[in-house]
Amino acid sequence: MKKLLLLAGILFLLSTEWIPAQEDASRYLDPIEKKYSGLRDYTADVNVHFDIEALKAPDMQARLYFKAPDKMKVESKRIFFLPKEGGYFNPSLFKKKDFEMKLLERLAYDGRKAVRLKLTPMDTDTYHKGFVLTIDTDRSLIREIKISPSEGREVKAMIEYGMFANFELPTHIHLQLDMPSDEPGGMKEFTQFGQKPKKITGKVGITYSNYQVNVGLSDEIFKDTDPLKPK
């Protein structure tokens, strides 16, 4: 009898641990989806500040165009580098149907209620291994995105928001990069043999300003969006 009680106790304790994991984590994304459902497009000036040892560059400026659900274009007269992961705001990036979601924890973020969710792509062939989102549930905002694009790579984006035409849009995205580099293209130099691949690590600060929201951007604008196209 004692053994049965002990077993029942253990099962009870385990079941309470399961509760957050089994909770429908996707419900935390619903308010965000609803909040941005009216956002059809936006344009903004972007300033990128690099603090990366492997990339010695001054601040870069460009104009960014976004149209829901996933069209994006950058216009810059000069050379412009934008981090692929977390570099710009796309509210429809995290669709419920594309991910398996799991609630990791509840926490306080900047003095507000928040949750941390783990999103694993349904499509196992995708480049992304998964995301961890920290969502401010009081304001329905994604405050942090931890991205694992592939093995050994990690990007953490912390987002600050401002109010533009009734939408809370990023004013600053602070990125922390930790990415092993691929082997440099072409033949290896003799001195490179035996060397371990180096990492691209550092911080990138992306500031958005001068927003124009829902101006009715035409699809024509997004026709020529190939980055790094030779002249």
């Binding site: 492997a54 000069r78 050379i79 580098f81 691929d182 440099p184 072409g186 043999f193 030779p230």
Partner: protein
């Protein structure tokens, strides 16, 4: 001064002097045409390590980048072209049998050898300036302008130089390149004073340059220890003008070491020429 212009006139009246200019023009134009045709492939290879993590916009493969790319071949083909004239300038007098005629004239041996050395330096400077002009002119014509991205792939490092700064940086880089090439010219010039034909100095100089380059790049401790004593280690100091921040101290050190090589090599040539026995 008169002797210098006389030597310069003599050098530039020979058709072989223009071989170098012709080949440089050919190499630059061919390289730029090929790069234009395979621009996408070059860009992919060049930016591969960064393209996975960054969206890159703008004219990366521009005229300034092409110029810097071609400049990287400086230490192989330009020395060869320099030796064609520098290795010939003194020895050709012996080959042609004019050395006695030259040295029984009123100008002293010291003045003759100095004039010849200055002519060698003049030719070397002219050749590098010609390379610069042709690279930049055709580069900007074929590829347009833009910010310069220097990709130090072995160090996995990208340096971004805004377009407004690039012309000044290029001017400094080419000035440094001229300075580097004067050492090659000085070696060939010294060999030319020692030899009685032109082939020896040309082959000898190229052998020294290639052997020193190879030794300096072996990834073994012994050769790494040796590399500070090889002039070829300092010959690429022009690249440092395209770095951020510009390492002025290292540049000054390299320039000084190369300058000391020039003084040493010319001094030996000067002594050898002054003691040269032209009677036998």
């Amino acid at each position: 001064m008169k002797l210098f212009w006389f030597e310069t006139y003599k050098t530039f009246s020979r058709w072989r002097t223009y071989i170098s200019f012709g080949f440089i023009a050919l190499i630059v134009i061919m390289t730029e045409v090929v790069m234009k045709l395979s621009a996408s492939e070059i860009l992919d290879r060049m930016m591969k390590s960064f393209q996975k993590d960054f969206l890159i916009y703008g004219n990366v493969l521009n005229g300034w980048f092409i110029t810097a790319f071609i400049m990287n071949s400086l230490h192989i083909h330009i020395p060869f072209f320099i030796t064609l004239v520098a290795g010939d300038i003194v020895s050709s007098e012996a080959t042609a049998g004019t050395v006695r005629l030259l040295l029984i004239r009123p100008p002293s041996r010291s003045k003759v050898i100095t004039a010849k050395y200055l002519t060698t330096l003049f030719y070397t400077t002219g050749l590098v300036i010609f390379l610069a002009l042709i690279c930049i002119a055709f580069g900007l014509l074929f590829f347009g302008g833009g910010d310069l991205i220097m990709n130090y792939s072995t160090k996995l490092r990208i340096v971004f130089i805004p377009e407004a700064e690039v012309p000044m940086r290029m001017l400094l880089a080419f000035t440094a390149a001229v300075w580097s090439m004067t050492v090659v010219a000085s070696i060939a010039f010294l060999f030319s004073t020692l030899a009685e034909n032109s082939i020896g100095p040309i082959i000898g100089t190229m052998a020294v340059v290639i052997v020193f380059l190879v030794l300096g790049n072996f990834p073994f401790d012994f050769f790494r220890m040796l590399s500070p004593y090889l002039f070829t280690t300092y010959m690429v100091f022009w690249q440092q003008f395209l770095d951020d921040p510009i390492p002025w101290q290292e540049i000054a050190r390299s320039a000084m070491i190369l300058g000391l090589h020039n003084i040493g090599l010319f001094s030996i040539a000067f002594i050898v020429f002054n003691r040269k026995d032209i009677k036998s």
